[in-house]
Amino acid sequence: MLGVYVHIPFCDGKCSYCGFSSFVKTDDEKERYINSLVEEIKEFAGEKKREIDSIYIGGGTPSILPINLICKLFEALKENFKWKDGLEFTIEANPCSLDEEKLSFYKKNGVNRISLGVQSLDENQLKFIGRRHSSIEAIDAVKLAKKYFDNVSCDLLIGLKDMDENAFLAQINTLAELGITHISAYMLQVEEGTRLHRLVEKNKHLLPTDDDCVDVYEKMTDKLAILGFSQYEISNFAKQGYESYHNFKYWTGQEYVGFGLGAHSYLNGKRIANDTTFSGYYDRIHTIEAINDQQRLEEHIMLGLRCKAGISKIVMKTLGYDITTNSNLVEFVEKGILNQQGDIITLNPDYYGVSNYIIVKLLPE
């Protein structure tokens, strides 16, 4: 079934590592954007209301929107889609812009999952990456979110300046004690054109080494397992039953529609990317890429091996690839890098850190 993604490209400042579409804008500009977004949703829906089973409002910082604007968006989503029972409805928030009024409004309108951009609970690291909140504010925000919502997820970054294994694991503990149900932990990626990139260019030793990051990542995985979070994807961990349903659509080649600046859709075998500038977005400029079987196959292997769910030999065969002819497969299975169970091949989580290397080896020649 279809999932919906809505992009809110506004922030109260730019984080140093951010290479994504986000801007600091006035309220008037935000209003213009929301109006355009509502139009885009209407244009897509037309007469027929399609049924959806997930909504994800991401950013940027969706929680920065004042209630009157978020309300317009919620209404458009309600009017133009048929919401399936049990629909997963996530909204991303950052600790600074969250308050009880907003939380209660979200809840009233069907939101059932909050994803909080905590990133770190270390003051210096937060300053270093240019977050505008303190660790106390982050913890308060988690507590506040938990007051209204059962399902609260936190984002964390691995590989920040002065990373310390014990301090990192203590953060995990703190968050788990606050009752969060889901953690997304990403390794910091230094993207070109970001402030962080310029800093790293100047000082190569600013950030911890890859080896140290993987060490912490592996320790974290063990710790989370003890705390009852199971790893269902390389960077995602959830208490039982709290896996993000929406993200799963990206990883399993299901359809989704994306609204807003820079948003992506995958519909009828085509991936559509909206323009990443405001003017381009308002003019509805977008690119369409027809995904052929070869690309679908690559995506199946690339995304599937990063998930606990793995990849399917039958699916690959329908896409024209008999993976058993790949000489690396045998070697990896023998070495215990890959597990084979019936139709399904999964990557041994011990090798998640080098997953990309393995994936490339399993692609057709």
Binding site: Y5, M187, D211, G258, H264, A273, M302, V354, Y357, L363
Partner: protein, 601 residues
């Protein structure tokens, strides 16, 4: 006046970059052989690569007409390649001339190849006329340089024309001098045909073309001719001259320079230095000086993409059409698959061929470390010649090995003598003598192993003398030496394409540098990889490439799977440039990187 008395056959010789090709261009322009608008800078360097590198590789003769005092003279300019790798070709084109213009740069003075080429001309009994070029440069010191020519080369130079080929200054003086000072050819056009092949090239329609100088007799279409060395017989289908493009004529006579075509299928049938005569009225004695050109530097060439083996073969065959000195034969390497063992006249020749393969045939190639030809004497009395380190027999079967030596001359300002001596010492050189040419220049003579010269000698010499030194060498036989094979083991498995033959006392140092270098170049693998250098079974150096820990794609924002897939596809492309040795993946650059080990390491 007789026809033959109005011919002047001459060449221009010089140290590299002293302005040979530029002067040739000016002469062609001044004699009106080509209108200015048809001129291309340095016309005679016809290959793209030649023009780019500023050097001449293939010879191109040009016939020019020049009128002086009412008489029209035929001037045949035979251009010569200006690099030590092509010394034999130079000597054959000199043999086709009566005179040589020796260009000397007015600011740089006499250099290694000035002297080497002047001596070649003297050996061929040519009249030598010095010309001082680049007088337009602010640093020009023509009078001093004239004196240097007299002192060092030992030929009169006080009346040498001072010119600027670049700006066209005093070119007329050079032309007058050619007519007045160079002798006309001697020869009997009624005698038996005696002609020298001084170069050849391949034409897709006419077959191999011989560039010839007629000494006696005549040559015309329909003649049946014989190559005296190869013994091959051909019917002449075309004769002609170069103006500077091919222009057919009815007949070539004694004293002339021109070409002949005779449906000669391959360039290998045309041996430069061979003598041509007529089948029905032959001479008995060939012209002297014929020598089979032997490659001295060897390396393996492999396609990066193994599937392109046939394209590589095709490329080498096409280059061979125009370059008889290029040799190659199939080679199989465990690490690199199917490729070719190739032989070259020198490092420049090697560089030119590999560059042409990449440019003209759009090939990505892997070159193994250049090597020389060794004479290996086995304990059973047998002697084998080899250049490929992996064909070296087991140490217990080897009695001793001989390596090729060269006589080398280095020219430099006196303050670099220490640095040069240090370098030659490091390269196992044996000091012969040191001569002060004047207060600004010395000449150092050394005997050196060729194997040391092809490894990093030019670069080191340049960097240690800030580019002031010039260098020339000639082959000087074989000498017994204490050589060993150093193998590289990756994860315990020998990688044949990385083996080298080195002087025993240097083996440890080279082994260490090699393993350190490979550690830097080979990316981390799924498992830890030991990199070892070994002589026989004995490990002499070891480095470890730690296992790879992190290779993971970033999160995909808002369903942007495409971006992620594209990153993956890029990575997959990169994998194609990897070679697998046992279980270790090596980037193709690794094989080339061992050719050059930086000075500091």
């Amino acid at each position: 006046m007789d026809r033959i008395n109005k011919i002047r056959n001459f060449c221009i010789v010089a140290h590299i970059d002293h302005g040979k090709s530029t002067l040739a261009d000016r002469l062609i322009e001044k004699t009106g052989t080509l209108a200015k608008r048809d001129m291309q800078e340095q016309l005679l360097d016809s290959m793209e690569l030649e023009r780019e590198k500023g050097i001449t590789i293939k010879l191109t003769p040009t016939k020019m007409n020049y009128t002086l005092d009412g008489e029209t003279y035929e001037l045949n300019l035979i251009d010569t390649p200006g690099h030590v790798d092509f010394t034999y070709e130079v000597s054959r084109s000199l043999a086709a001339c009566e005179g040589a213009i020796l260009i000397v740069d007015a600011s740089q003075g006499v250099e290694a190849q000035t002297l080497a080429n002047a001596y070649l001309a003297i050996d061929n009994n040519l009249e030598i006329l010095p010309v001082i070029n680049k007088i337009d440069l602010p640093s020009a010191r023509p009078e001093e340089v004239k004196k240097e020519v007299e002192d060092v080369v030992g030929i009169p130079a006080m009346h040498a024309p001072c010119i600027s080929a670049k700006e066209g200054t005093n070119i007329e003086d050079v032309l007058k001098m050619i007519v007045k000072e160079f002798p006309s050819p001697k020869g009997d056009e009624n005698g038996k045909l005696k002609a020298l092949i001084f170069d050849s090239y391949y034409d897709n329609f006419k077959g191999a073309i011989c560039l010839v100088r007629i000494f006696d007799g005549t040559l015309k279409v329909g003649d049946k001719v014989k190559m005296m060395q190869t013994g091959k017989i051909y019917d002449v289908t075309e004769v002609g001259v170069f103006v500077p493009n091919e222009k057919p004529v009815d007949v070539l006579r004694a004293g002339d320079v021109g070409y002949l075509a005779g449906s000669i299928k391959t360039i290998s049938d045309v041996a430069v230095g061979d003598t041509i005569t007529k089948v029905d009225n032959p001479i008995t004695e060939a012209l002297p000086g014929y020598k089979e050109v032997q490659p001295v530097v060897f390396c393996g060439i492999f396609p990066v993409d193994g599937a392109r083996y046939n394209d590589l073969k095709d490329g080498l065959e096409k280059l061979k059409l125009n370059d008889a000195s290029l040799q190659f034969q199939p080679e199989v390497s465990q690490a690199l698959g199917f490729g070719f063992r190739c032989g070259f006249l020198g490092l420049l020749h090697l560089e030119i061929i590999t560059e042409r393969l990449e440019r003209e045939f759009d090939l990505d190639i892997i070159t193994t470390a250049p090597s020389v030809f060794y004479h290996v004497y086995k304990t059973n009395g047998e002697m084998i010649e080899l250049s490929n380190p992996s064909s070296l027999p087991n140490p217990v079967e080897i009695d001793y090995i001989e390596e090729p030596m060269v006589k080398a001359s280095v020219f430099a300002p006196p303050n670099y003598v220490g640095a040069i001596m240090d370098l030659c010492q490091e390269k196992r050189g044996i000091y012969k003598d040191l001569t002060y040419l004047d207060e600004n220049r010395v000449r150092l003579n050394y005997t050196l192993p060729l194997g040391e010269i092809i490894y990093d000698f030019f670069d080191s010499l340049k960097s240690r003398t800030k580019g002031y030194a010039s260098f020339d060498y000639e082959m000087a036989g074989y000498e017994r030496s204490d050589l060993v094979k150093v193998d590289i083991l990756l994860n315990g498995e020998k990688c044949d394409a990385l083996s080298i033959i080195v002087f025993k006392d240097k083996a440890y140092a080279r082994g260490r540098v090699l393993t350190e270098k490979l550690k830097k170049i080979i990316p981390r693998q799924l498992f830890e990889v030991p990199v070892q250098a070994a002589i026989g079974g004995k490990v002499i150096a070891r480095e470890t490439i730690k296992a790879m820990r992190k290779d993971v794609l970033a999160k995909c924002y808002g369903g942007d799977v495409t971006r992620k897939r594209k990153l993956l596809e890029k990575q997959k492309e990169g994998k194609k440039r990897m070679r697998k040795v046992g279980s270790v993946e090596i980037p193709s650059e690794a094989f080339m990187s061992i050719l050059k080990l930086d000075d500091g390491e």
